[in-house]
Amino acid sequence: MDQAWLIPAIPAAAFVILLIFGPYLPRKGDWLAIAAIGASFILVFPLLADLLDQADGATYVAGERAWEWLSFDLSGVGETFEIEIGFYVDPITIVMLAVVTLVALMVQVYSIAYMKGDSRYGWYFTAMSLFAASMLTLVLANNLLLLYAGWEAVGFCSFLLIGFWWEKRSAAEAAKKAFITTRIGDVGLLIGIIMLWLEGPNTFNIQEIIAFAQEGGYDSTYLTAAVLFMFMGALGKSGQFPLHVWLPDAMEGPTPVSALIHAATMVVAGVYLVARMLPLFEVADPIALDVVLVVGLTTVMISATMGLAATDIKRVIAYSTLNSLGLMFVALGSSAVTAAMLYLFVHGFFKALLFLGAGSVIHATEEQDMNRLGGLAKKMPVTAAMFAIGTLAMIGIIPLSGFWAKDEVLVFANEEQPLIVYLVLLSSLVITGLYMTRLFVRTFLFAPRDQGVYDHAHESGLLITVPLLILGLLATVAGFVVFDEVGEALGFPGGIAQFVFLREAHEFEFHLDTAITSTVLAGGGAVAGWILWQNKAELAASVRDRFAPIATLLANRYYIDEVYQFAIDHIVLGAGTVVAWFDRVVVNDGGVGGSAKIGYLAGFEAKFLQSGRLPNYALAIVSGILLLSIVMLVALV
């Protein structure tokens, strides 16, 4: 248990080595990065093993180890102000570690082929190792400050990797946008952390804070405010409703980056944070959880609808990610950690699969726009097959993992939340079915729209297809974890449900009715999508013309981007110009310059007293004498 710190340390060490010696290593050191992430992946299992054999029955004892990073004693209050570095391993961490390390490994192997020949090939793997290190630190952190450190580092890495091809103006802008938006979110997180520390037990340790809160240490409105502030950080990082603008643009980065960061790991950090802090959400008054729920719902609806209009295949998948994240937050909103973590676990695989599939298409055809693709299935059978599995998993068709996890979320939504939530989710199922099939059909089936692209297409090499196959297998199999028998078979006493729970052991019930409704709706969506977009997609075109205004609205992403841009240009930059002008003209020329001018003018006037004529001087002397004597006599005599 106490070698857990090795997991983030190895990629960090790799990062340092690659940073300094990278260019001189053979093949620019890509093998070192992959070896490092591989080692971290392998190290997860001993952790799991320790956790399991210490577990008595279904309750798991979490391992924690901490070292003091910085401390000084506060004279007045007697205690000390301490910041420590440590890790905390419990079931949620294990799930996260598994997803992160595995997907990272797959992506890095995939990138060898994908990034071959890139001028900054070495730098790519350096940044990837740094990302892995910081993500793992975030997941393992035992105190909020270390979590925040990992949080920011991950944001920085996404800035580096989105802006990997920074020669492109759009990539540079996207990177900037991503980092600033997440930074704005992090403002909330930092405030939340400090608020929790302020009124709490003078420590940043998460478990102590939660214990303190559960004993009713914080008063509820204060706690709600702190928790909502923290949720603001999760919003930024996971691209939820108000701060989701950066995720679609983040597709400027290389596809493996999108696969790793914007599907499986970074964006999920927000979900992990809320899952980790859920006890706080629950102690705070219910408004907190409702906010999470509402935000999740709005993101689900917005992303699903926008997915319909997007033409770039990566953007469609990005919207699907937003959609899934929305779902996770809905699950968390109804305090179903199990459902959320399960969906996260499963989503990591099939979303990475979809992205890598898209990557292989882009790698093969150098083309991202759906209107120019089509009919690639014949040329790229393996990619097409895997992409199909990914799409079906995303829609949530019965055997695949997507179904089971989505089903859990629906079950909870149905039981805990009012009906409206359940209905919204169901409608989102339909729309997901629609745009996912649209994506698959437009890319792989029917007649190719651009012959040049079609001829150019070829099946990608083994280095790309093998990770696809692995992920494809996982996407299908991972769902069965739901059944306890499968859990016991894997050595989890009482199945996975027991493993990942919050309040009490929770049984996966298989609600036949929700399962049927969800499958019917999802399948219907898929079929409708097939009909709409088959061969020349005339039907889709006619539908679009009829609902032209809605289509344009969706194409422009509800104009949210434009609103934000307007806000930034006019309000923020405008304020900047006004303040800068105020500073230069009023404070500087007016205030400082002005007072200097007063001195100057006073001197200027006084200068002319010196008229050069002797009687004036004599007059000055006489007036001096008179004044002096009169005042003296009047005052003193």
């Binding site: 200068k607 008229s611 050069g612 004529r613 002797l614 009687p615 004599a618 006489v622």
Partner: protein, 102 residues
């Protein structure tokens, strides 16, 4: 005996006349004369004090003598400078001598 006040008043009047002369006059020599007038007023003052108030010591009287001596020296010096000015610029009016200003 004439009370001391008369002398003090006389010297005050002379002093003020001298001061007025310095301010009003434009010709350098006349200014000089007004200054001399003021000095004589001072001499009167000294003698008055010496005689009326402190007859037993000669300080006052000696002061008066020195004042007169120094006034004489002053006139000599001043006239030399005024002459120099006149020779150079043919002006005696003090207002015209304003090369040095501001």
């Amino acid at each position: 005996m004439i009370p001391i006040d008369n002398f003090l008043v006389l010297s005050a009047i002379l002093f003020s006349l001298g001061m007025y002369g310095v301010l009003a006059r434009r010709n350098a020599v006349l200014i000089l004369m007004s200054v001399e007038l003021m000095l004589q007023a001072v001499a009167i003052n000294f003698v008055a004090f010496a005689v009326y108030l402190y007859p037993e010591t000669f300080t006052g009287v000696i002061f008066a003598i020195f004042v007169i001596v120094i006034a004489a020296a002053e006139v000599g010096l001043a006239l030399a400078i005024i002459l120099r000015l006149f020779r150079n610029r043919q002006i005696t009016n003090v207002d015209e001598a304003d090369l040095l200003k501001w």
